[in-house]
Symmetry: D2
């Protein structure tokens, strides 16, 4: 049997805690070796649950001998620097989205990984959800013909703390999943890029926080180089539970993915048909989270290029940045305006 | 038993033929009394099937004593003049969409009906489809809370003759159904109007006809006065059959309507699950066509104001015209730009 | 245009009232000419609504010159005699199920119709529901291969008055629909007959009425001559609304039919997914009721043999009678035991 | 972190191979320590893949110091003796269904586990499938009221080798899953037992093997002590893929479980709606297989009584034996006939 990949996890918050559990219990051939978090006591507590080593000095963990690969689940602002640090240390690195908040940072992360040749994977977990992956396979195999119309949406069950959400989160942290999915689907049967974006956004869920820059509802139109057109849609408050879906329509048919129930159970009563609704992304995408980390661990072992790279993170970020300009200036924005290269 | 309403039908084309059958066989308390069509032989043939009187002189039919009410199913360009003629003759009038191609014409039609006080109904049949009507009832009753995000789409099984389609048909004749549906849903729980529109459109189905002005694929973003945002989407070629759907999302939940099969039959085989797909609007909306004419006949008998009026036709047309400007100038267009009043 | 078929309706109860409305307003080429009911005032009231002639003397109506065809919607016990009377008078006759409560009576009805050659149709309305008809077409076309396993079920939203229900109603008046459907499906790809039946039944909904002979819940196993096996299932109280379904499984796949919502509307909320549930058979099978009467009116006009005949009524009744013996004697019962011919 | 449970697996066939992979890669806190199979080379090959120790002497493995718990996945005939051996060695034991082929054997297995107090779990994996577990929770919480009608079915994509199937497999190895599920559901809101069974069965898939005792299609009726009635249904050849479903109907509603697709992907084309169909039980029940072994490993660590015990295996076996008598004698069979105790 092959040796286990010893993973060092950075960040002991909500998603970090979930990744720790996955790495310790569910991801084949992985060992949760270390947990780093600068917050006092935080890494200790999480590491303790699974017999891993705790670090408050993140850089020390990155460089530790007993750590073969690094998983970054810290706050978004820190992502780029940590990718660069891990890559520079020659460690394969998995980074939660968003990998960067600017194209310059994205280039810096990509460059660092390229310099040492380590695998760099980004946490677009939707690509590892069975329904989405099967749908993409159908598109890639020509099952919908030439792609013409796409839709991707994210509706979250609710904001715990609207006050703590940074401006433009809806584009840079939420819809970025949809932008990646749309790029992935639009290019499945032949590579393409986004060319133009138009976004509307408002604070319909929590109007009191609009002044603070929080937008919670948005519709985005995206045009692609191959002629395809897409909408992406997000809301930060879905009363009926987590709702993430995709629809790809083309000259030969349509493919859809996504579900709103966590099991096949249906309960028929005078009130309607109840299901086990989904209240969190880990419930909806649990298998996908396991699968993306399993893929990363495989790439770390073999040196293979991950299926979702820093370039994918950069492409989705470009759309998010164009959306921000579009909302600020109330006009369609070409991708080459935000990325003149 | 009340006397039958004697209906005079104008137009013996595809939809006219279907309305004739409905009026003769399915619409309660209606009698197909006359059919008028200037094309030689056309009215005679259709009228003959149901024992109605044929006319080539449309104005003569409108004014005939044995005609209590008029149904207009001629070509779009003639609609406004025919509405005016019927209203002036004091006959309740049902007009297929679009009632007008300009706001001035819409005002002319509305004014003519107002002058004589006759009921004027427009053929937004989707409002009479059970699923859509039930969905609207849910929204009106507050079932989805404050409306935030809407979607309406029309995918037609295919263009018989792309060459014969007038420019901007996708907005003025196809998406106008979606615009009406979106206005109807967005305003269900409290009146509102569209304020801004952004449209992209292309010739992805029949690229060869783009030069002739035929756009066959489109995505439209609409903003409403109450904050709600919507997308409307159309394609002139759906490989899997007629697909018309609506989705209304709000602070309290979501409601959807629309179906792609004409019956509950499902056939499970190694190839998947086959259904009785829908190849024409009369198959998908047969009951709705009957119901809208039944409603019109009731209004004609009682003088009641129809549920879908000339004002609804005007409001949907406004969005269509804003879409045209949006595509021509590649920018969002405010409704007050196309309708300064 | 062809002359209307002038229909005389017998029975002004619940289903009679519905058929009256259908004949007057929805069935093409039919005229509700007369309504007969021995209960004082009953026929007068219903006939008055639609301008038909009322009769308390049923035989007089059957023989009246202005009546071209007869629709029987009286109480079950009277059905056979009325079929015989109408057939003897040379009038095409439509009879609600059950046409007879004994095989001898079934033979009497069939014989009377054969003697004068009039069309005799029985009210197995499920055959005219689009989903069921489409499913049967798939089976007939070989879409599921050799039929092996079938299921048909009827769950009624509830008994208004358990006290008024005659013994064995569950087999003779409710499941008889399922027996007909199963015979129709099992024989779709090659004629067959039922050979053996096993039934269990109990009073689970209204246990207090068991002593009076009311059974409200049942499961039936049926074997067919071609090897196929089926279950039929009934309950007189479905909390979630009317539920009628069929499933046909064979060597090449499966086909299903039936639905529990009256429209495509779905309402997603924290409580689940609500639909427009169905509380009555006329809501669930409204189109089927119209279609079966339209078929009858066509047969009455043309003399054609109806798609559902007295022989079909007899075959389904045979299964119902075998079920009664099976419950009484707690054993499987061969069809040739109840029908030695 | 707690020590891993070192599991010894018996049987390197199809399901044994799958359990090995689960234990090695997916089951938290488990280690695949040893694989035993008397067939030369068989254990060596499977054990080698995961770095486990191979045994051809099964008893030696059961007694080995490095084995904390035993998983039995050998041929059905050997199950009881192996349970007894493992229990006698004081090792917690998981046994694939059927645990026994006679009630005497079932009692022997139960007695052996009771004697040493080791946890004994049986492989009714359906109980660990999310949809089924959620459905049972609804029933247990009173969500369908008093249970009245149940259905459980198993349709397998196909028999690889009809010649190798022992007689009565359809009851003892296939439908035994449905019998367990029905007992589990029927008793969810208040304990109950099966009281009477009626079964029909035939060789409709592979008629040539009927003479050899292979029955491949069956319908079973079961009555329970609390009045509920059920059907169980099986076929050894489903053209559209693996189909396992349950339906529980009661005074307050209905709950269903089961699915026929392995992901949420739906592909709409002119041919219908294709899904990722399921061709094997490990694809359909992969998560359930992992979950049942995880549960067993937990019980092995803590000494807790498993959720599915030898008593459950015995109760389901009783129904299977009654089915065999029912088919042999063409009559309903009371459970106390096969189990006079």
């Amino acid at each position: 049997m092959e040796a286990l990949v010893r993973v060092g996890l950075i960040g002991a918050g909500r998603i970090g805690t979930y990744h720790a559990e996955s790495l310790a219990l569910r991801v084949p051939r992985a060992q949760l070796a270390a947990v780093a978090d600068p917050a006092p006591g935080s890494a200790e507590k999480l590491a303790g649950t699974y017999g891993a080593r705790p670090y408050t000095d993140v850089q020390a963990m990155i460089e530790a001998d007993g750590v073969d690969a690094v998983v970054i689940a810290s706050t978004a602002r820190a992502h780029t620097d940590l990718v660069v640090a891990a890559a520079t240390a020659g460690k394969p690195v998995f980074c939660e989205k968003p990998m960067a908040l600017s194209l310059a940072d994205a280039d810096r992360a990509i460059g660092a990984a390229a310099a040492t040749g380590v695998p760099l994977q980004v946490g677009f977990n939707r690509r590892f959800a069975a329904g989405f992956a099967d749908a993409r396979d159908v598109v890639a195999a020509g099952g919908v013909g030439a792609v013409q119309l796409l839709r991707s949406l994210t509706r979250d069950p609710g904001l715990a703390d609207p006050g703590g959400v940074p401006p433009w989160t809806i584009f840079r942290e939420t819809l970025i999943h949809d932008f990646d999915a749309l790029l992935w689907f639009a290019g499945a049967a032949g590579e393409t890029t986004a060319t133009e974006v138009y976004a509307v956004a408002d604070a319909l869920v929590a109007p009191d926080f609009k002044a603070a820059g929080l937008l919670d509802t948005s519709i985005v139109t995206i045009r692609f180089g191959n002629g395809a057109m897409a909408t992406a849609e997000a809301s930060f408050s879905a009363a009926y539970g987590y709702d993430v879906r995709a629809e790809v329509f083309g000259s030969g048919g349509m493919v859809t993915a996504g579900q709103q129930a966590s099991s096949s159970m249906r309960h028929y009563s005078a009130q309607g048909v109840a299901r086990q609704t989904v209240r969190g992304d880990t419930a909806l995408f649990g298998d996908a989270y396991t699968a993306e980390l399993a893929h990363f661990v495989d790439c770390a072992r073999t040196g293979a290029t991950p299926a979702v790279t820093g370039h994918d993170a950069r492409a989705a970020l470009g759309i998010a940045l164009a959306c921000i300009t579009s909302v600020e200036e109330s006009r369609p924005v070409r991708l080459d305006e935000v990325d003149p290269a």
